[in-house]
Protein backbone atom coordinates (compact mmCIF):
# COMPACT_ATOMS: atom_id res chain seq x y z
CA UNK A 1 0.00 0.00 0.00
CA UNK A 2 2.82 2.40 0.88
CA UNK A 3 4.90 1.95 -2.24
CA UNK A 4 7.37 4.80 -1.85
CA UNK A 5 8.44 3.73 1.61
CA UNK A 6 8.28 6.10 4.55
CA UNK A 7 6.99 9.53 3.60
CA UNK A 8 8.37 13.04 3.84
CA UNK A 9 7.16 13.66 7.38
CA UNK A 10 8.76 10.52 8.76
CA UNK A 11 12.11 11.31 7.13
CA UNK A 12 12.24 14.92 8.25
CA UNK A 13 14.80 15.81 10.89
CA UNK A 14 12.10 17.76 12.72
CA UNK A 15 9.91 14.71 13.15
CA UNK A 16 12.80 12.55 14.28
CA UNK A 17 13.80 15.19 16.78
CA UNK A 18 10.24 15.42 18.09
CA UNK A 19 9.98 11.65 18.50
CA UNK A 20 13.29 11.41 20.30
CA UNK A 21 12.40 14.36 22.59
CA UNK A 22 9.07 12.74 23.42
CA UNK A 23 10.69 9.49 24.46
CA UNK A 24 13.45 11.27 26.34
CA UNK A 25 10.82 13.13 28.35
CA UNK A 26 8.65 10.03 28.91
CA UNK A 27 11.56 7.85 29.95
CA UNK A 28 13.08 10.56 32.18
CA UNK A 29 9.76 10.93 34.04
CA UNK A 30 9.34 7.14 34.26
CA UNK A 31 12.88 6.91 35.64
CA UNK A 32 12.06 9.61 38.22
CA UNK A 33 9.04 7.59 39.42
CA UNK A 34 11.10 4.40 39.48
CA UNK A 35 13.79 6.05 41.59
CA UNK A 36 11.23 7.51 44.00
CA UNK A 37 9.15 4.35 44.30
CA UNK A 38 11.84 1.68 44.23
CA UNK A 39 14.00 3.83 46.52
CA UNK A 40 11.10 3.75 48.98
CA UNK A 41 10.62 -0.03 48.56
CA UNK A 42 14.34 -0.78 48.91
CA UNK A 43 14.59 1.26 52.11
CA UNK A 44 11.56 -0.68 53.40
CA UNK A 45 13.16 -3.97 52.47
CA UNK A 46 16.64 -3.37 53.80
CA UNK A 47 16.40 -0.78 56.56
CA UNK A 48 12.97 -0.74 58.15
CA UNK A 49 14.15 1.08 61.25
CA UNK A 50 14.95 4.14 59.15
CA UNK A 51 11.27 4.55 58.27
CA UNK A 52 10.02 3.43 61.71
CA UNK A 53 11.66 6.43 63.41
CA UNK A 54 9.05 8.41 65.29
CA UNK A 55 8.32 12.02 64.53
CA UNK A 56 5.99 13.43 67.13
CA UNK A 57 4.08 11.26 69.55
CA UNK A 58 2.39 8.68 67.31
CA UNK A 59 3.47 9.16 63.72
CA UNK A 60 6.53 7.52 62.19
CA UNK A 61 8.53 9.20 59.44
CA UNK A 62 7.42 6.42 57.07
CA UNK A 63 3.90 7.84 56.83
CA UNK A 64 4.76 11.28 55.44
CA UNK A 65 7.32 9.60 53.15
CA UNK A 66 4.64 7.22 51.83
CA UNK A 67 2.34 10.17 51.22
CA UNK A 68 5.31 11.94 49.64
CA UNK A 69 5.74 9.18 47.04
CA UNK A 70 2.05 9.53 46.08
CA UNK A 71 2.42 13.30 45.83
CA UNK A 72 5.61 12.86 43.77
CA UNK A 73 3.72 10.71 41.25
CA UNK A 74 1.06 13.42 40.99
CA UNK A 75 3.60 16.21 40.55
CA UNK A 76 5.42 14.27 37.80
CA UNK A 77 2.09 13.78 36.03
CA UNK A 78 1.65 17.55 36.26
CA UNK A 79 5.10 18.13 34.73
CA UNK A 80 4.26 15.80 31.85
CA UNK A 81 0.91 17.50 31.21
CA UNK A 82 2.56 20.94 31.31
CA UNK A 83 5.30 19.81 28.88
CA UNK A 84 2.96 18.03 26.47
CA UNK A 85 0.39 20.83 26.42
CA UNK A 86 3.11 23.43 25.99
CA UNK A 87 6.26 22.39 24.20
CA UNK A 88 5.05 19.25 22.40
CA UNK A 89 1.82 20.66 21.00
CA UNK A 90 3.48 23.97 20.09
CA UNK A 91 6.20 22.16 18.14
CA UNK A 92 3.67 20.04 16.26
CA UNK A 93 1.68 23.17 15.38
CA UNK A 94 4.65 25.35 14.39
CA UNK A 95 6.46 22.96 12.10
CA UNK A 96 4.43 23.11 8.93
CA UNK A 97 5.65 19.72 7.68
CA UNK A 98 4.06 17.97 10.63
CA UNK A 99 0.65 19.57 10.43
CA UNK A 100 -2.10 17.08 9.63
CA UNK A 101 -3.07 19.14 6.57
CA UNK A 102 0.45 19.11 5.18
CA UNK A 103 0.79 15.43 5.90
CA UNK A 104 -2.41 14.43 4.15
CA UNK A 105 -1.32 16.35 1.04
CA UNK A 106 1.67 14.09 0.84
CA UNK A 107 0.30 11.39 -1.39
CA UNK A 108 3.22 9.04 -0.79
CA UNK A 109 2.09 8.43 2.77
CA UNK A 110 -1.32 7.38 1.60
CA UNK A 111 -3.20 8.72 4.58
CA UNK A 112 -6.37 8.99 2.56
CA UNK A 113 -6.39 5.29 1.86
CA UNK A 114 -9.60 3.69 3.15
CA UNK A 115 -7.63 0.94 4.82
CA UNK A 116 -6.56 3.36 7.53
CA UNK A 117 -9.55 5.61 8.01
Amino acid sequence: MVSGGPGRVLDSAEFKELVSKRWTMSLALTLAIFIGYFGFILVLAFDKTLLARKIGEHITIGIPIGIGVIVLAWVLTGIYVWWANGYYDRTVEQRSTMRPGAASRDSRIGLRSPAIT
Partner: protein, 390 residues
Protein backbone atom coordinates in the same frame (compact mmCIF):
# COMPACT_ATOMS: atom_id res chain seq x y z
CA UNK B 1 -9.57 2.27 41.79
CA UNK B 2 -12.70 0.30 42.52
CA UNK B 3 -14.74 0.33 45.72
CA UNK B 4 -13.62 -3.23 46.39
CA UNK B 5 -9.94 -2.35 46.24
CA UNK B 6 -10.57 0.65 48.50
CA UNK B 7 -12.16 -1.67 51.07
CA UNK B 8 -9.33 -4.15 50.57
CA UNK B 9 -6.49 -1.69 51.06
CA UNK B 10 -8.11 -0.13 54.13
CA UNK B 11 -8.43 -3.68 55.49
CA UNK B 12 -4.80 -4.49 54.73
CA UNK B 13 -3.66 -1.36 56.56
CA UNK B 14 -5.88 -2.21 59.54
CA UNK B 15 -4.45 -5.74 59.81
CA UNK B 16 -0.87 -5.33 58.61
CA UNK B 17 -0.22 -1.67 59.39
CA UNK B 18 2.47 -0.11 57.28
CA UNK B 19 2.82 -3.22 55.06
CA UNK B 20 -0.71 -2.67 53.78
CA UNK B 21 0.07 0.91 53.04
CA UNK B 22 2.62 -0.11 50.41
CA UNK B 23 -0.34 -1.21 48.25
CA UNK B 24 -1.66 2.36 48.25
CA UNK B 25 1.66 3.80 47.16
CA UNK B 26 2.41 1.08 44.63
CA UNK B 27 -0.95 1.25 42.90
CA UNK B 28 -0.89 5.00 42.52
CA UNK B 29 2.58 5.19 40.98
CA UNK B 30 1.32 2.93 38.20
CA UNK B 31 -0.98 5.64 36.81
CA UNK B 32 1.65 8.18 35.72
CA UNK B 33 3.72 5.42 34.09
CA UNK B 34 0.73 4.48 31.91
CA UNK B 35 0.35 8.17 31.08
CA UNK B 36 4.03 8.62 30.16
CA UNK B 37 4.45 5.44 28.12
CA UNK B 38 1.27 4.16 26.53
CA UNK B 39 -1.82 6.35 27.03
CA UNK B 40 -0.99 9.07 24.55
CA UNK B 41 0.16 6.88 21.64
CA UNK B 42 -3.01 4.82 22.07
CA UNK B 43 -5.22 7.88 22.12
CA UNK B 44 -3.55 9.19 18.97
CA UNK B 45 -4.00 5.83 17.29
CA UNK B 46 -7.73 6.10 17.92
CA UNK B 47 -7.83 2.49 19.05
CA UNK B 48 -9.37 1.83 22.42
CA UNK B 49 -9.10 -1.88 22.98
CA UNK B 50 -5.92 -3.83 23.49
CA UNK B 51 -6.69 -6.14 20.56
CA UNK B 52 -7.44 -3.21 18.24
CA UNK B 53 -4.07 -1.62 18.95
CA UNK B 54 -2.12 -4.80 18.26
CA UNK B 55 -4.22 -5.80 15.27
CA UNK B 56 -3.49 -2.42 13.67
CA UNK B 57 -0.24 -3.66 12.17
CA UNK B 58 -0.20 -7.35 13.09
CA UNK B 59 -2.41 -10.19 11.80
CA UNK B 60 -6.00 -9.85 13.00
CA UNK B 61 -7.08 -13.39 13.77
CA UNK B 62 -4.23 -14.80 15.88
CA UNK B 63 -3.95 -11.50 17.76
CA UNK B 64 -7.67 -11.44 18.54
CA UNK B 65 -7.68 -15.03 19.80
CA UNK B 66 -4.65 -14.48 22.02
CA UNK B 67 -5.87 -11.10 23.28
CA UNK B 68 -9.29 -12.57 24.12
CA UNK B 69 -7.72 -15.32 26.20
CA UNK B 70 -5.60 -12.78 28.08
CA UNK B 71 -8.55 -10.43 28.57
CA UNK B 72 -10.90 -13.17 29.80
CA UNK B 73 -8.35 -14.39 32.33
CA UNK B 74 -7.83 -10.87 33.66
CA UNK B 75 -11.58 -10.29 33.85
CA UNK B 76 -12.06 -13.56 35.73
CA UNK B 77 -9.54 -12.64 38.42
CA UNK B 78 -10.88 -9.12 38.78
CA UNK B 79 -14.39 -10.56 39.00
CA UNK B 80 -13.41 -12.92 41.82
CA UNK B 81 -12.00 -9.99 43.81
CA UNK B 82 -15.21 -8.00 43.39
CA UNK B 83 -17.34 -11.02 44.35
CA UNK B 84 -15.38 -11.52 47.56
CA UNK B 85 -15.82 -7.81 48.40
CA UNK B 86 -19.56 -7.78 47.61
CA UNK B 87 -20.10 -11.10 49.40
CA UNK B 88 -18.56 -9.74 52.58
CA UNK B 89 -20.64 -6.56 52.42
CA UNK B 90 -23.88 -8.52 52.04
CA UNK B 91 -22.79 -10.86 54.82
CA UNK B 92 -22.13 -7.92 57.15
CA UNK B 93 -25.37 -6.14 56.29
CA UNK B 94 -27.80 -9.05 56.33
CA UNK B 95 -25.95 -11.48 58.60
CA UNK B 96 -26.02 -14.14 55.87
CA UNK B 97 -23.31 -16.79 55.63
CA UNK B 98 -20.60 -15.76 53.15
CA UNK B 99 -21.46 -18.53 50.66
CA UNK B 100 -25.12 -17.51 50.54
CA UNK B 101 -24.13 -13.87 50.15
CA UNK B 102 -21.88 -14.63 47.16
CA UNK B 103 -24.62 -16.69 45.48
CA UNK B 104 -27.11 -13.84 46.04
CA UNK B 105 -24.70 -11.27 44.57
CA UNK B 106 -23.98 -13.52 41.60
CA UNK B 107 -27.69 -14.05 40.92
CA UNK B 108 -28.38 -10.30 41.05
CA UNK B 109 -25.44 -9.67 38.76
CA UNK B 110 -26.54 -12.25 36.16
CA UNK B 111 -30.11 -10.90 36.19
CA UNK B 112 -28.89 -7.31 35.92
CA UNK B 113 -26.65 -8.04 32.95
CA UNK B 114 -29.11 -10.32 31.15
CA UNK B 115 -32.15 -8.07 31.46
CA UNK B 116 -30.65 -4.61 31.54
CA UNK B 117 -27.06 -4.47 30.56
CA UNK B 118 -27.06 -6.00 27.11
CA UNK B 119 -28.23 -2.73 25.57
CA UNK B 120 -25.29 -0.75 26.83
CA UNK B 121 -22.95 -1.92 24.12
CA UNK B 122 -21.03 1.35 23.77
CA UNK B 123 -20.26 1.20 27.45
CA UNK B 124 -19.00 -2.35 26.99
CA UNK B 125 -16.72 -1.27 24.20
CA UNK B 126 -15.20 1.35 26.48
CA UNK B 127 -14.84 -1.01 29.44
CA UNK B 128 -13.04 -3.47 27.14
CA UNK B 129 -10.02 -1.13 27.20
CA UNK B 130 -9.25 -3.27 30.24
CA UNK B 131 -8.95 -1.99 33.77
CA UNK B 132 -7.85 1.65 33.46
CA UNK B 133 -10.76 3.68 34.79
CA UNK B 134 -8.97 6.99 34.19
CA UNK B 135 -8.12 6.14 30.64
CA UNK B 136 -11.81 5.89 29.86
CA UNK B 137 -12.09 9.55 30.65
CA UNK B 138 -8.89 10.17 28.73
CA UNK B 139 -10.45 8.75 25.59
CA UNK B 140 -13.86 10.32 25.83
CA UNK B 141 -12.50 13.89 25.89
CA UNK B 142 -12.08 15.06 22.30
CA UNK B 143 -9.23 17.52 22.78
CA UNK B 144 -5.78 16.21 23.73
CA UNK B 145 -5.02 19.22 25.95
CA UNK B 146 -8.21 18.77 27.97
CA UNK B 147 -7.67 15.01 28.17
CA UNK B 148 -4.22 15.48 29.67
CA UNK B 149 -5.51 18.02 32.17
CA UNK B 150 -8.29 15.70 33.24
CA UNK B 151 -5.75 12.93 33.85
CA UNK B 152 -3.86 15.34 36.09
CA UNK B 153 -6.99 16.15 38.11
CA UNK B 154 -8.06 12.51 38.25
CA UNK B 155 -4.63 11.38 39.45
CA UNK B 156 -4.92 14.01 42.19
CA UNK B 157 -8.31 12.70 43.31
CA UNK B 158 -7.22 9.08 43.22
CA UNK B 159 -4.04 9.94 45.11
CA UNK B 160 -6.24 11.61 47.72
CA UNK B 161 -8.33 8.44 48.05
CA UNK B 162 -5.22 6.33 48.46
CA UNK B 163 -4.03 8.67 51.20
CA UNK B 164 -7.47 8.29 52.82
CA UNK B 165 -6.85 4.54 53.09
CA UNK B 166 -3.97 5.38 55.46
CA UNK B 167 -6.36 7.20 57.79
CA UNK B 168 -9.25 4.73 57.50
CA UNK B 169 -6.97 1.71 57.91
CA UNK B 170 -5.14 2.98 60.98
CA UNK B 171 -8.38 4.44 62.33
CA UNK B 172 -10.20 1.12 62.20
CA UNK B 173 -7.18 -0.65 63.70
CA UNK B 174 -7.55 1.58 66.76
CA UNK B 175 -11.31 2.23 66.96
CA UNK B 176 -12.67 -1.15 65.80
CA UNK B 177 -9.78 -3.41 66.71
CA UNK B 178 -8.19 -6.23 64.74
CA UNK B 179 -10.07 -8.98 66.62
CA UNK B 180 -13.49 -7.78 65.47
CA UNK B 181 -12.27 -7.05 61.92
CA UNK B 182 -10.87 -10.56 61.45
CA UNK B 183 -13.91 -12.13 63.14
CA UNK B 184 -16.19 -10.64 60.47
CA UNK B 185 -13.79 -11.43 57.61
CA UNK B 186 -10.34 -13.00 57.76
CA UNK B 187 -9.24 -10.86 54.80
CA UNK B 188 -9.96 -7.64 56.70
CA UNK B 189 -12.14 -6.30 53.90
CA UNK B 190 -14.81 -4.96 56.24
CA UNK B 191 -12.51 -2.61 58.19
CA UNK B 192 -13.87 0.55 56.54
CA UNK B 193 -17.58 -0.28 56.98
CA UNK B 194 -16.90 -1.34 60.59
CA UNK B 195 -15.14 1.96 61.21
CA UNK B 196 -18.21 3.70 59.80
CA UNK B 197 -20.35 1.80 62.31
CA UNK B 198 -18.00 2.62 65.19
CA UNK B 199 -17.95 6.34 64.42
CA UNK B 200 -21.38 7.06 62.90
CA UNK B 201 -23.62 4.22 64.08
CA UNK B 202 -25.75 1.77 62.10
CA UNK B 203 -27.12 4.47 59.80
CA UNK B 204 -23.65 5.45 58.65
CA UNK B 205 -22.70 1.79 58.21
CA UNK B 206 -25.78 1.30 56.03
CA UNK B 207 -24.94 4.34 53.96
CA UNK B 208 -21.31 3.32 53.38
CA UNK B 209 -22.23 -0.30 52.65
CA UNK B 210 -24.94 0.75 50.20
CA UNK B 211 -22.62 3.10 48.31
CA UNK B 212 -19.86 0.48 48.22
CA UNK B 213 -22.25 -2.27 47.14
CA UNK B 214 -23.76 -0.20 44.32
CA UNK B 215 -20.29 0.63 43.03
CA UNK B 216 -19.16 -2.98 43.21
CA UNK B 217 -22.30 -4.18 41.42
CA UNK B 218 -21.65 -1.70 38.60
CA UNK B 219 -18.05 -2.89 38.28
CA UNK B 220 -19.09 -6.55 38.39
CA UNK B 221 -21.77 -6.01 35.74
CA UNK B 222 -19.30 -4.10 33.57
CA UNK B 223 -16.72 -6.85 33.88
CA UNK B 224 -19.26 -9.55 33.07
CA UNK B 225 -20.41 -7.58 30.02
CA UNK B 226 -16.81 -7.12 28.92
CA UNK B 227 -16.09 -10.82 29.34
CA UNK B 228 -19.31 -11.88 27.62
CA UNK B 229 -18.71 -9.56 24.67
CA UNK B 230 -15.13 -10.78 24.33
CA UNK B 231 -16.43 -14.35 24.19
CA UNK B 232 -19.32 -13.64 21.83
CA UNK B 233 -17.84 -10.94 19.59
CA UNK B 234 -14.09 -11.55 19.45
CA UNK B 235 -13.98 -15.31 19.91
CA UNK B 236 -17.28 -16.66 18.62
CA UNK B 237 -18.20 -14.33 15.76
CA UNK B 238 -14.73 -13.38 14.52
CA UNK B 239 -12.97 -16.67 15.08
CA UNK B 240 -15.44 -19.54 15.23
CA UNK B 241 -17.81 -18.11 12.61
CA UNK B 242 -15.19 -16.05 10.72
CA UNK B 243 -17.27 -12.88 10.97
CA UNK B 244 -20.45 -14.44 9.52
CA UNK B 245 -23.07 -14.42 12.22
CA UNK B 246 -26.40 -12.73 12.79
CA UNK B 247 -26.87 -10.23 15.57
CA UNK B 248 -29.47 -12.45 17.24
CA UNK B 249 -26.99 -15.32 17.32
CA UNK B 250 -24.31 -13.09 18.84
CA UNK B 251 -26.70 -11.90 21.54
CA UNK B 252 -27.65 -15.50 22.33
CA UNK B 253 -23.99 -16.45 22.69
CA UNK B 254 -23.38 -13.38 24.86
CA UNK B 255 -26.26 -14.40 27.15
CA UNK B 256 -24.91 -17.91 27.55
CA UNK B 257 -21.46 -16.43 28.20
CA UNK B 258 -22.92 -14.13 30.88
CA UNK B 259 -24.52 -17.09 32.63
CA UNK B 260 -21.30 -19.12 32.53
CA UNK B 261 -19.18 -16.20 33.76
CA UNK B 262 -21.67 -15.55 36.55
CA UNK B 263 -21.55 -19.16 37.74
CA UNK B 264 -17.74 -19.18 37.49
CA UNK B 265 -17.60 -15.96 39.55
CA UNK B 266 -19.85 -17.49 42.25
CA UNK B 267 -17.82 -20.72 42.47
CA UNK B 268 -14.45 -18.97 42.56
CA UNK B 269 -15.75 -16.20 44.84
CA UNK B 270 -16.65 -18.87 47.41
CA UNK B 271 -13.32 -20.66 46.89
CA UNK B 272 -11.41 -17.46 47.69
CA UNK B 273 -13.31 -16.81 50.94
CA UNK B 274 -11.22 -14.98 53.52
CA UNK B 275 -8.79 -13.49 51.01
CA UNK B 276 -8.13 -9.78 50.96
CA UNK B 277 -9.78 -8.03 48.03
CA UNK B 278 -6.86 -5.70 47.34
CA UNK B 279 -4.56 -8.71 47.18
CA UNK B 280 -6.95 -10.42 44.75
CA UNK B 281 -7.07 -7.30 42.57
CA UNK B 282 -3.27 -7.42 42.70
CA UNK B 283 -3.47 -10.90 41.16
CA UNK B 284 -5.72 -9.55 38.38
CA UNK B 285 -3.14 -6.81 37.80
CA UNK B 286 -0.41 -9.46 37.68
CA UNK B 287 -2.28 -11.35 34.96
CA UNK B 288 -2.91 -8.13 33.00
CA UNK B 289 0.72 -7.05 33.46
CA UNK B 290 1.90 -10.40 32.08
CA UNK B 291 -0.68 -10.93 29.33
CA UNK B 292 -1.20 -7.41 27.97
CA UNK B 293 1.46 -4.96 29.01
CA UNK B 294 4.58 -6.47 27.36
CA UNK B 295 2.81 -6.95 24.01
CA UNK B 296 1.23 -3.48 24.18
CA UNK B 297 4.45 -1.67 25.03
CA UNK B 298 6.52 -3.55 22.46
CA UNK B 299 3.95 -2.94 19.72
CA UNK B 300 4.20 0.82 20.34
CA UNK B 301 7.95 1.08 20.92
CA UNK B 302 9.53 -1.59 18.76
CA UNK B 303 9.43 -1.67 14.99
CA UNK B 304 10.60 -5.29 14.82
CA UNK B 305 7.73 -6.64 16.94
CA UNK B 306 5.85 -9.39 15.06
CA UNK B 307 2.55 -11.27 15.22
CA UNK B 308 4.19 -14.46 16.47
CA UNK B 309 6.06 -12.42 19.10
CA UNK B 310 2.83 -10.83 20.30
CA UNK B 311 0.87 -14.09 20.39
CA UNK B 312 3.66 -15.93 22.21
CA UNK B 313 4.08 -13.09 24.70
CA UNK B 314 0.36 -12.94 25.50
CA UNK B 315 -0.12 -16.71 25.78
CA UNK B 316 3.05 -17.40 27.79
CA UNK B 317 2.35 -14.38 30.02
CA UNK B 318 -1.22 -15.55 30.73
CA UNK B 319 -0.43 -19.23 31.21
CA UNK B 320 2.60 -18.56 33.40
CA UNK B 321 0.79 -16.00 35.56
CA UNK B 322 -2.20 -18.30 36.14
CA UNK B 323 -0.02 -21.39 36.58
CA UNK B 324 2.18 -19.70 39.16
CA UNK B 325 -0.87 -18.35 41.01
CA UNK B 326 -2.29 -21.89 41.20
CA UNK B 327 0.89 -23.28 42.77
CA UNK B 328 1.39 -20.21 45.00
CA UNK B 329 0.50 -20.24 48.72
CA UNK B 330 -2.86 -18.49 48.08
CA UNK B 331 -4.36 -21.26 45.96
CA UNK B 332 -2.16 -24.24 46.74
CA UNK B 333 -2.45 -23.89 50.55
CA UNK B 334 -5.51 -21.69 51.25
CA UNK B 335 -7.88 -22.99 48.55
CA UNK B 336 -6.62 -26.50 47.78
CA UNK B 337 -5.52 -27.16 51.39
CA UNK B 338 -2.05 -28.54 50.63
CA UNK B 339 0.50 -28.24 53.46
CA UNK B 340 3.19 -26.37 51.47
CA UNK B 341 3.27 -24.33 48.27
CA UNK B 342 5.33 -25.24 45.20
CA UNK B 343 5.96 -21.61 44.22
CA UNK B 344 6.93 -19.33 47.13
CA UNK B 345 5.78 -15.92 45.83
CA UNK B 346 2.15 -14.87 46.33
CA UNK B 347 2.20 -12.57 43.30
CA UNK B 348 3.77 -14.01 40.13
CA UNK B 349 4.18 -10.78 38.09
CA UNK B 350 7.93 -10.40 38.55
CA UNK B 351 8.50 -13.79 36.90
CA UNK B 352 5.59 -13.99 34.45
CA UNK B 353 5.86 -10.43 33.12
CA UNK B 354 9.61 -10.73 32.59
CA UNK B 355 9.06 -14.03 30.79
CA UNK B 356 6.40 -12.44 28.55
CA UNK B 357 8.86 -9.72 27.52
CA UNK B 358 11.63 -12.24 26.80
CA UNK B 359 9.35 -14.56 24.82
CA UNK B 360 8.01 -11.61 22.78
CA UNK B 361 11.54 -10.48 21.91
CA UNK B 362 12.84 -13.97 21.10
CA UNK B 363 9.89 -14.90 18.83
CA UNK B 364 10.05 -11.53 17.06
CA UNK B 365 13.77 -11.87 16.38
CA UNK B 366 13.40 -15.49 15.24
CA UNK B 367 11.11 -14.64 12.30
CA UNK B 368 11.00 -11.12 10.90
CA UNK B 369 7.77 -9.61 9.61
CA UNK B 370 8.37 -6.96 6.93
CA UNK B 371 4.71 -5.97 6.63
CA UNK B 372 4.41 -5.26 10.35
CA UNK B 373 7.65 -3.27 10.22
CA UNK B 374 6.50 -1.10 7.31
CA UNK B 375 3.14 -0.52 8.99
CA UNK B 376 5.07 0.70 12.02
CA UNK B 377 6.34 3.71 10.08
CA UNK B 378 2.82 4.64 9.10
CA UNK B 379 1.59 4.03 12.63
CA UNK B 380 4.19 6.53 13.87
CA UNK B 381 2.42 9.40 12.15
CA UNK B 382 -0.66 8.67 14.19
CA UNK B 383 1.17 7.80 17.38
CA UNK B 384 3.05 11.06 17.58
CA UNK B 385 0.92 13.52 15.66
CA UNK B 386 -2.57 12.05 15.83
CA UNK B 387 -2.71 12.24 12.03
CA UNK B 388 -5.42 10.11 10.47
CA UNK B 389 -7.07 9.13 13.72
CA UNK B 390 -9.67 11.94 13.75
Amino acid sequence: MSAASFLGIAGLVSLKGYDGLIYSVGWLVGWPIIMFLVAEPLRNLGKYTFADVLAYRLSQKPIRIAASIGALTTVAFYLIAQMVGAGNLVKLMFRLPFEGAVIAVGAVMIAYVLFGGMLATTWVQIIKAGLPHILMRFYTVPDAKEARKSVFYATGFIGYFYILTFIIGFGSMVLVGQDLITKIDKGGNMAAPLLAEATGGTMFLGFIAAVAFATILAVVAGLTLAGASTLSHDLYVNVVRSGHSSEAEEVRVAKIATLLLGILAIVLGIAFKGQNVAFMVGLAFAVAASANFPALLMSIMWKGFTTSGAVASIIIGTVLAVGLIVISPTVWIDVLKNPTAIFPLKNPAIISMTAAFIVGIVFSLAARDSRAASMYEEEKLRTYLGVGAE
